[in-house]
Amino acid sequence: MSWIVRMIVVLPALAGLLGLVMHRRRLVAAAVAVSVSAYVMVLGLIQWVAPARAADIDSLGSLPLGGGLAVPLHLLSDRVSGLVSFVVALVVLAIQVFTVWYLRDDPRYGRFAATVSLFAAGMLLLVQAGDLVLMLVGWEIMGWCSWLLIGHDSERPAARRAAYKAFLVTRVADIGMVVGLVALAVRAGSTDLMAVLTASGHDTALTVGLVGVLVGVAGKSGLVPFHDWLPDAMEGPTPASALIHAATMVAAGTYLVARLFTLYAEHDGARLLLAVLAALTMVYAAVLALVQTDIKRMLAYSTLSQIAIMLSALAAAPAELGPGAGLSHLLGHAFFKALLFLAAGWLSVLGGATALAALRGRLRPTGALRWATGIGLASLAGVPPLVGFFSKDTVIDAALEGTGAGSVVVTIALLLTVALTAAYCTRAWLLLDTPLAVVPPTGTAAGPAAGAADPAPGSAAASPAVSPAASPAVSPVAQPDPVVPAEQVAVVTVADSADDAEVERVHAHGHAPITLSAALVVSVLAVLTVVATLFLASLRGGVHVGVLTALVSLLLVAGAAAAVWVAGDRGRSDVADRVPGPLRDRAVRGFGADTAYVGIGRAVTALARLVVTLDRDVVDAYPRATAVVARAAGRVGERSHRAVPSLSLLGLLGGVVVIAILGVTAWR
């Protein structure tokens, strides 16, 4: 068993390394990436279903540290980690297969696939880790790989910026993570998970640790103050988005909190904080998802909302129920979100754009894709036989069972979110599926910039014409001199993502017709979305649906869907158009969160400039002052030695005589 666990962690890393070495040979890179993912998936399956003990602890070799700290580098293998790693490996495999098609013309495919493998290694390490340090390792590796993946198309300034923003925001949140983990480790005297969970005493350290870890989780999972990096991360290729959003990076926070659940369950303050953040995020993100003009950004906001739902389960569930509800939503979400993203990628290739306005009605003529998207959206909305329904209702049920202020907040937010989720899913479906009227309502089309993307049929041919028209809006006109303005050299660059929201992000290197394997992958994910509830059943507390809650949520879903149906005139118009223009525009831009980030960045840059000035003029003053004084003294000394020879001789002899007199008198 330990062999399998180690292989699960090590193999993807090796695949990443090999892929990096072999990145020029496309076929080899693809073969390595896909076959290793498949193998790891099989290993994950074995780990999940193998009839083993409840938990199995293995070590990578404890660190030889002399002090009071033990770093055993344990790997903890149990049902939960088995199931999660199986699902992660499955999603990764799907993404790898899909990528072979999606990036078939991209010269950087090899490196992309290798990075995805490394990313998977990071996530699997986090999943298998029974040690805080290993968790942090996996956590940060994912952050770094997300930087590489989001910035994959580094020719585009928006992609560079988004990658930078994503890593920086999560890294700032990781300040809390590192401090929190250090505090927890100090409290236990060890970084072993079991020791941390069973340690007692040191309430301050516990509070700092739990809150710190929460801050870190909020960063990676996109809870409210840190949420804005996630929609921007859509600048990466769609498979990367699927990877980041479905099962790995943003969900890692949930898994981490679930692993530490026993600590959180007994600490009301940290749980309340988590509950408030999650509640705020899920409603806020769902509202924003409703008005988005870009399908990938819409999915990104829906991810924010769904991740908050998972975390809310952990914040509200009673201690005896365990983290099962959150994990179950994590797994369910992994299936349908991966499905939705891959479908969106497929659709964007067909439509040549990701803007909803450009994709209107393009779903209708496609067969499998239409079904897959439908299943995905339905699952997201929480339609009964699909996995989304079960996992979501499990969360609601867990929240209802909880006590305290946190669960109340969470329950209210959950019910609101259920309705909002159904609404935006319906809207998306209607927009994508309803065939266009003969005269498209361009005048009232969403947002001012949407007019640029002409939703006329045959836009696959039109999109190359659109892209250059849109790109000047993104990057300033090239200047003749090669010197970058100082503003660009500094950390912060002007916010351009908001203007970018409407720009198509489709990859020029993806227009070939879909291959069978890629289509098959999407279909398999769709099937799994239907049946995945069976997987969840093996999880303790994984599926727990009360009749009342199911009824309430069904009513909410149906009501919201019907409302959208009516308000959107059966899909012939966009519901979001009913929102006043300026307000909607602001909502599309995320209500200026980006501006706030830029403001913070500017403040830090200003501080940095101050530091450089101080370094040059104040701290450096003392050596320079010393130099000036020394030089002046030297000059004075030199001048005094340029005297008339006979005078100098007089002085010299006078001195000699004086010294001699002193010597003689002393000798006496």
Partner: protein, 186 residues
Amino acid sequence: MTTRDIVFVAVGVVTALSALLSVTTKHVVHAALWLLVSLGSLAGAYLVLGQELVGLVQLLVYVGAIVVLVLFALMLTRAPIGPHAEIDTPWWQRAAGAVLGAATTALLASLLLPLLSGATVDLDAPAATTPRIAQAVFGTWVWPFELLSVLLLVALVGAFAVSRLVLHREDPAADGAVRRAEGVRR
């Protein structure tokens, strides 16, 4: 007060007086000549002290060579003939010099006189000092002696080289321009 004492005092007075004159006279050349007298009478003092050889060498080297050299130097440097007020430093510096000289004398006297007071030496017994000195020079002191000859040689060559030395001075302006041009090239 023995005879030798008296003779020494006489010679010593001549020595000291001529030395004093040699440093105070206003004639440049007279200074050299008074030095001649002083060194010569010092040779006499050596004789009185019973060191014939030293006295002889003193006469030969100092009186015969060095003073002549000094005279040559004076001529080569176009020393003025006749009394000349400007060979001396300003009065205050001379006063300071006098004080310092007196202080030196006082210092040395205060050291030497107690040390040597009462010490007498009998020089009347005939003693062949020269052979002893010859033996010492070529026996005990032979290595320093050889070194000394090398030193003399080096000094001669050095003096020759120094007098041939040409202090090289180009036109400063042109030099600077060249250097600046080089700086630009660098």
